[in-house]
C-alpha cells in the first residue's frame, strides 16, 4: 500500500473523529474547553512577544494573535461552573471569591480588547505597553486563582 493511500485511509476517519470530538467537547466539557483555550491564549501571547522582541513586528500575525486572545478571553469566564476545579490547577478561591474572579476575567476581556485596537493602530510602543498590561492581567489572576507549580 502506498503512503498516499494509507494517509487517505487514516485521514478521513481522523477528520470525522476530530470534528465529532470538537462538537461533543465544546458544550459538555467546560474544563477541557477552557484548558484548550488558555493554551491557545498562551500560544498567541508567545507569538506577540516574539513579534515585539524581533524589532520589526508583522502586523497581520500580531493582529491574528491579539484577536485570538481577545475572542478567547470573552468565552473563558463562563467556563468555570461550580465543581469543575477537581484535577486542575484551578484553585477553590475561584468559587469562594467569585466576584473577584469575575472582575479579573472582565479586566482581561477589556484589556485584550484594547490590545486588538492598539495593534490595529500600528504604534509598536503602544502595542508593547498594552501587551504588558494584558500579560500582567494573566499573571495577576494566575497568582490569585491558579496553583503555582
Amino acid at each position: 500500500m502506498s503512503i498516499y493511500r494509507t494517509t487517505r485511509r487514516i485521514a478521513l476517519p481522523l477528520a470525522v473523529l476530530t470534528l465529532a470530538g470538537a462538537v461533543v467537547a465544546a458544550p459538555s466539557d467546560p474544563k477541557a474547553t477552557r484548558q484548550a483555550s488558555f493554551k491557545k491564549m498562551g500560544a498567541a501571547m508567545k507569538v506577540l512577544k516574539e513579534q515585539l522582541a524581533g524589532g520589526s513586528p508583522a502586523k497581520p500575525g500580531m493582529l491574528a494573535a491579539a484577536q485570538t486572545v481577545a475572542a478567547t478571553a470573552r468565552q473563558q469566564g463562563a467556563l468555570f461552573p461550580a465543581g469543575s476545579g477537581a484535577g486542575t490547577d484551578a484553585l477553590p478561591a475561584i468559587w469562594t471569591q467569585k466576584a473577584t474572579f469575575d472582575a479579573q476575567m472582565a479586566k482581561l476581556v477589556a484589556e485584550s480588547g484594547k490590545l486588538v485596537t492598539v495593534v490595529n493602530g500600528g504604534n509598536v510602543d503602544a502595542i508593547g505597553a498594552q501587551f504588558k498590561v494584558v500579560g500582567g492581567t494573566c499573571a495577576g489572576c494566575h497568582k490569585q486563582f491558579r496553583a503555582d507549580n
Binding site: 493554551k39 498567541a44 508567545k46 512577544k49 500579560g135 494566575h142 507549580n149
Partner: protein, 218 residues
C-alpha cells in the same frame, strides 16, 4: 619539620564548585519568586560554569580530568567493598556522583533554555524555536529535573557527612583550601593546572554562553 602540603583541587575547580552552590540556590529562589529576569541570568551563569567544567575535564588539573575519575562499574564496586584509594581526588564512586550531577545540570539548563511560562510571557532564550506546547513541556521537564537534582545534592551531602562522621575524614576543607597534609614521607604531587588553559576555558565558556543567551543570533 614542615608538613608536606598535597594539592587536591585546583582553584578553577573550587571556584566552579562554590559558585555553582550559590547559583543553584539563587536559581531556586528566583524561580520560586517569579523573578524571571534574575532567573535567566542565573541560568546563564550556570551554563557558563558547566561549559567551563566540561572543558576543564579535558584540560584542567590532574584531579579535574574526566580521564582521571570516570571509571567503570567494577572499579566503583571494588571501592565500595573497601579497596583503598591510591591517590587524591574523586574516588571511583564519587566520580559517578560528579558525572550524574553534571548530566542532570546540563539537562536542567537545556530544558530551561526552551521553557515557556503559562502566560507565554517569560521564556528561555531558545523558546522562539519551539511551539508554546513544546515550551510548556520543557518547563515541566525543567521542574521535574529539579527534584532529581535535589535528590543528588542530598546524596552528595549525606556522603560528605558519612566521611566526616563515620570515617573521620574531612572532605569540605580541601574543597575550600585546595589541599590536604600529605602522608608522612610522601612527596607532594602537583596538579599541573595551567593558568593559560584556564583563561582559554573562560573565553570559550563566555563565548558559548553569550551566543546561547542571544538565542543563537549574533
Amino acid at each position: 619539620m614542615k608538613p608536606i602540603i598535597q594539592p587536591v583541587w585546583d582553584l578553577p575547580l573550587r571556584l566552579f564548585h562554590w559558585l555553582l552552590v550559590g547559583l543553584i540556590a539563587f536559581s531556586w529562589w528566583s524561580g520560586e519568586n517569579h523573578e524571571m529576569e534574575w532567573h535567566r541570568w542565573s541560568g546563564y551563569a550556570i551554563l557558563f560554569l558547566l561549559v567551563f567544567r566540561l572543558y576543564w575535564g579535558l584540560a584542567g588539573g590532574r584531579t579535574a580530568r574526566f580521564s582521571r575519575f570516570v571509571r567503570g562499574p567494577r572499579a566503583a564496586l571494588a571501592y565500595l567493598r573497601g579497596s583503598g584509594e591510591a591517590d587524591v581526588g574523586h574516588n571511583p564512586l564519587g566520580g559517578w556522583s560528579v558525572v550524574s550531577m553534571l548530566a542532570i545540570l546540563i539537562a536542567m539548563v537545556m530544558a530551561g533554555l526552551f521553557a515557556v511560562d503559562v502566560d507565554g510571557l517569560e521564556s528561555g532564550p531558545l523558546a522562539d524555536y519551539v511551539s508554546f506546547d513544546a515550551g510548556r513541556w520543557a518547563s515541566d521537564v525543567h521542574s521535574l529535573i529539579f527534584n532529581l537534582l535535589m535528590g543528588l545534592i542530598v546524596l552528595h551531602i549525606a556522603a560528605i557527612l558519612f566521611y566526616l562522621l563515620a570515617r573521620r575524614r574531612n572532605l569540605i576543607g580541601p574543597m575550600i583550601t585546595g589541599s590536604v597534609k600529605a602522608v608522612d614521607g610522601a612527596a607532594a604531587v602537583p596538579l599541573r593546572a595551567s593558568v593559560w588553559r584556564a583563561l582559554t576555558g573562560l573565553l570559550i565558556a563566555a563565548a558559548i554562553t553569550y551566543f546561547v543567551s542571544k538565542g543563537l543570533h549574533l
